[in-house]
Structure formats: structure tokens, C-alpha cells
Symmetry: C3
């Protein structure tokens, strides 16, 4: 795996995250039909409400996760596959979040936590990379 | 057009998408005033509710469209202007979505479909590019 | 500061924007617990409702701000630290928005305006950069 550039691995993770987000949005659409919830309403049946919140909570996560993934990929020059690995952990956390939330919103904790830890991991990698670049630039 | 780099065309499409999103958000603000809907309320009049949902549905699309546009632009090395062309199709779909949704939310189908097809086109380009890069890297 | 690449400064601003967004989301979570608002509900107490709208309005801003910041950073080749400076102005605007909105939603105007001006500044830089690149490409 060391021969594969970090950007290629992070591109694959980005595609997977987008497919997961597509899937969540598609479920909202199907449940809108199933429970006859007409747009522009965004609630009306507990099953729909859960699917809608899963989709939107993941929307909140996407604007944090994708920038952190690519900052880590661009600035961190250590172990090349580490940003993508944290990305896979994020995806696992989100899938767990989705499955547990649909069953019972109060069981969503572990999925939230795994996604948060993955984002914190990417944040640390990005900061390490930025600090190293800053040191290299100001030393010259 | 072949002499213009793909990244420059995609940058223009990105600017246009952001301007469209700005416009949608601006309409939400104007209708908030017109119908005296005080923040933090996000509903209260059918016209406002439609404008609000158009804005937020496009927000969902932005976190999918912009990453796909730039993955296709960065990784697909075929016809340079193809990512930007799909981007223009996306914008046409969103404008149609906005216009039909304001008139009647149940008429939003065609606009949604065109935007979805544009995103699928970008997804295919991105995957082609990633697979080709992967092949080139692992072959060496 | 001229020796520090623009991308490094914009990376730092991106990290700060993500940390601010994290903070806003964390407050929503804490107020959810404080006022016993069970998921998937997204309203139920004025304090929670304000924190929720601050978070989501900033979500709308993130999909505009981050692309504009990086388009300006990538395409504008004038004063290197100018995109990051507009980024800092955006952050100041959002912090002011958050503080005033929590106190009284009707006082949010100045924070909104400062953030908007920062985004407009980045938009102008991005367009200047794109036009210059376009001119350079088509002149050859």
C-alpha cells in the first residue's frame, strides 16, 4: 500500500463517504413516499424523522470530515495511508450511527463517538503537517 | 476550449454554484422579512417554507457536487471540459428545481433528476480517473 | 509573513473554522441534554433553538466560505496573505454572530454582514485570479 499515493486513497474514501450520504438521502426520499409526507414538510412520521436527522447530522459531519481528510492528506507527510485509515474509521462510525439511530435514536452514542475520534485523528494529523511546514518555511 | 485547463473551467462552475446558493439564501432572508418570520423560526408561511427547503436541499447537494466536481477534475484525464460540462448540467437542474419547486413542490422531479444525473456523471468520471491512476501506480 | 505560502495560512484558517463549527455543534449537544430534548427533535426550548440555528446557519456558510477561501488561495496570485485575512474576518463575523444571536436573534445583523463581506472579498479575489489565468491561457 505504501506505493499508492495518499491522495488516491483519500479520493476513494471521499467517494465512499459521498455514496453513503447519497444512500441516506435516498432513504429520506423513499420514506417521504412511504409515509405520504409531502414536500416541503420535513417531519410527519417517526421513521421518516429518524432518517431525516441521520441525513442532516451526516451533512454537518461532511463539511468537517472532507476538509480535515484533505488537509491531513495534503499537509501530513508521515505514514501515507493514515489519513485514509481515519477516513475508513469515520465511515464505520457513520454506518453504525445510521443503523443504531434507525433502531433507537438514544443508542446513537457509539457511532457518534467513533466518527468524532476519526475527525480528531485527522485534525491532529493536519495540525502536525501544518506545524512541520510552518517550521520548514520559517527556518529558511 | 481545449487550451483552457480543466481546473479553470471547474473553478468558474464552482463560482456559479456558490452564486446560485447565495441567491437561494438571499430569497430565504427576503421572505423572512416579507412574512414577518422571526429567527430562529424556520417555517411560518408556505412561500417561505418552499424557499427554505430549496436552499437546504441545495445545501445537501453542494457537499456532494463540489467534491465530485473536483475529484473528476483532478483524477479524470480524458476530455478536459467534461467535468465542467456536467457541472453546468447540475446548475441547470438546480435552477429548474428552484423554479418548479417555488411554483409547486410536487413538480420538482425533473430538476432533481437532472442534478442527480450530473452528479452520477461526475461520479463515473472520478471513478474512471481513480481506477486509471491505481492501475498506473500498481503496475510500476 | 510574506515567506509563508498562502496555502499554509488558509489551512490554519480552515482548521479554525472547523473548530468554531465543532464548538457550535457541541453547544447544541449540551443544550439538548440540559433541556431534555430527545433526538430526533430539533426544537423545544428557546436557548436550544438559538444554538441549533447558529450551527445550521454556519453550516450554510461553510459550503460557501471554504470553497471561496481555497479558490482565492489557488487562483489569486497577488498579496499572498489576503485570502487568509478575509478568512480571519469571516471567523470574527461568525463569532460575533454566535454571541449576539444567543443573546437575542434580532441582534445578529452585524455578524451576518461581516461574514458576508468576507465572503464577497474572497469571491472578488477568486474572480480576479480566474480572469487573470484565463487571460494568460487564451493569450498563448
Amino acid at each position: 500500500m505504501n506505493t499508492v499515493p495518499a491522495s488516491l486513497l483519500s479520493a476513494i474514501v471521499t467517494i465512499l463517504a459521498i455514496l453513503l450520504f447519497f444512500f441516506m438521502g435516498g432513504r429520506v426520499g423513499r420514506l417521504r413516499g412511504k409515509h405520504s409526507i409531502l414536500a416541503p414538510a420535513t417531519s410527519g412520521h417517526p421513521e421518516f424523522d429518524r432518517a431525516f436527522r441521520i441525513h442532516y447530522n451526516t451533512l454537518e459531519q461532511m463539511v468537517v470530515f472532507l476538509p480535515l481528510l484533505w488537509l491531513a492528506t495534503s499537509f501530513y507527510h508521515g505514514i501515507g495511508w493514515l489519513p485514509a485509515l481515519f477516513g475508513v474509521v469515520f465511515l464505520i462510525g457513520r454506518i453504525l450511527y445510521m443503523q443504531t439511530y434507525m433502531a433507537d435514536p438514544q443508542g446513537r452514542g457509539p457511532g457518534v463517538l467513533i466518527g468524532l475520534l476519526a475527525n480528531l485523528g485527522l485534525l491532529v494529523l493536519a495540525i502536525i503537517g501544518i506545524v512541520q511546514d510552518w517550521g520548514a518555511v520559517t527556518a529558511t
